[in-house]
Symmetry: C2
Subunit: 231 residues, 2 copies
DNA sequence: CACATATGATAGTATTACTATCACATTAAA
DNA sequence: TTTAATGTGATAGTAATACTATCATATGTG
């Protein structure tokens, strides 16, 4: 069985829906490859147009600018993540087990359910590590937020927070813990790869160190039910 | 008593030392104001030159580009933070008390020791919240790291990690916990101000919520000595 | 067949991110 | 005190970036 999932995106993210045309899908596909390869700062619509054999003007018909395109790509990833989360944790009664699954999902260690022809999720995941916070770390974050551009990210955060609360209904910071988890997955990966002295994973061959660290962090916080003693 | 501290910066961070001239200090002062006001993306050397009554070319004599200037400003802040940390935790024997002091320092709740005429630390702190990760979230992070541009940040991280280890010598992830703390101070502030649903601090008047969350998180992780039970 | 829509082709503008040159003022060295 | 070195201002210029506008053509739809 091969399922094909179409993720419905907020129309504010684009000028013309890239999923509805060959060119649009090509823009998505090649922008992922190119941002992954040269980084978001050096990525331009001109280079992208050359790469896919179209013109700058045509790309501007789909996306207002490259920042919006990046926001689109990451919104897609968060939506996809939430789908995955819901699917994988379905019928898993224990909140603890569900949290462990979330950790695995966020560190990209779960098999995928659907196929997408033009979206390379592995590269998109690498982009999230490197560029994941750039969509909202701007002066126009409030306006973008009003347009619900970050809704997928906030939904994912809220869903994880909800599971934290199931695990321990008294934990007072479920959403902050959830956003901490989401950010730190990427940051610890990034640090491990690029600034390893900021982490403790220097000699690991794989990324299981990040996983263990976060698992320990999350469960420690959630289990520590008492208020902080000022001992 | 009013102490004047001169922070010695890595010469790779600049072309000409901005501390050594009136124009240089003016560049530092006004770039802080301007980046704080309009954000790093919209900030240009041309605008800065107009603001301080000099020319673009003159600013390029001090800094290779605006990215380097931002890296400089944040390197300064991390160095300053480490000075503060050493001073404030001096003669405080209890690691627990020192950790609480670190939290207060990082959330900018400790009085300053030194005066700087041209550096507005409060604005610089705001810049760290918004732009703090941009110096290293680039494709040239490895090269910049080889030039030790991030040494102040890594030193601060290592020092905090050292105190974690004093508190609990068996804790396996001191550096990752330290970098998590450093990043999350800024992110939780940023989220609280701009994307509040990613946090639990919506109704607080001040920032003590961030402080309490991080304190709980850090001590929970450090206190949870046992390996994770797979219960 | 008429009409709307998507794309390509081309052009053009304002801004950004620099680099280069020369003149002048100040300071330091001979 | 002259000479030399240094820092700054003024001006110019270039390549790339980030767009916007216009028109022709192809393709599909009613």
């Amino acid at each position: 069985m091969e399922l094909q999932l179409q993720i419905k995106m907020n129309p504010k993210l684009f000028l013309r829906d890239p999923e509805q045309s060959v060119l649009g899908r090509s823009i998505i596909q090649h922008s992922i490859n190119m941002i992954h390869k040269i980084g978001f700062e050096d990525f331009t619509f001109k280079k992208l147009a050359q790469e896919i054999g179209t013109t700058e003007a045509s790309i501007y018909r789909y996306f207002e600018n490259k920042h919006r395109l990046l926001t689109y790509l990451l919104a897609w990833l968060w939506t996809w993540m939430e789908y995955q989360l819901v699917y994988h944790t379905n019928n898993v009664p224990s909140p603890e087990a569900r949290i462990r699954l979330i950790l695995k999902l966020l560190t990209f260690q779960l098999p995928d359910l659907f196929t997408f022809q033009h979206i390379d999720r592995s590269r998109l995941f690498q982009i999230a590590i490197m560029e994941g916070s750039k969509p909202y770390l701007t002066k126009h974050v409030t306006e973008d937020n009003k347009n619900h551009l970050f809704k997928p990210y906030k939904d994912l955060c809220a869903r994880i927070a909800g599971i934290f609360i199931e695990y321990n209904p008294d934990y007072p910071y479920p959403r902050s813990l959830s956003s901490t988890l989401l950010e730190m997955v990427h940051y610890q990966y990034f640090f491990r790869n690029n600034l390893p002295s900021l982490t403790d994973f220097g000699k690991d061959k794989d990324y299981s160190g990040v996983n263990r660290f976060l698992e320990h962090l999350i469960f420690s916080a959630l289990k520590n039910k008492g208020t902080l003693s000022k001992k």
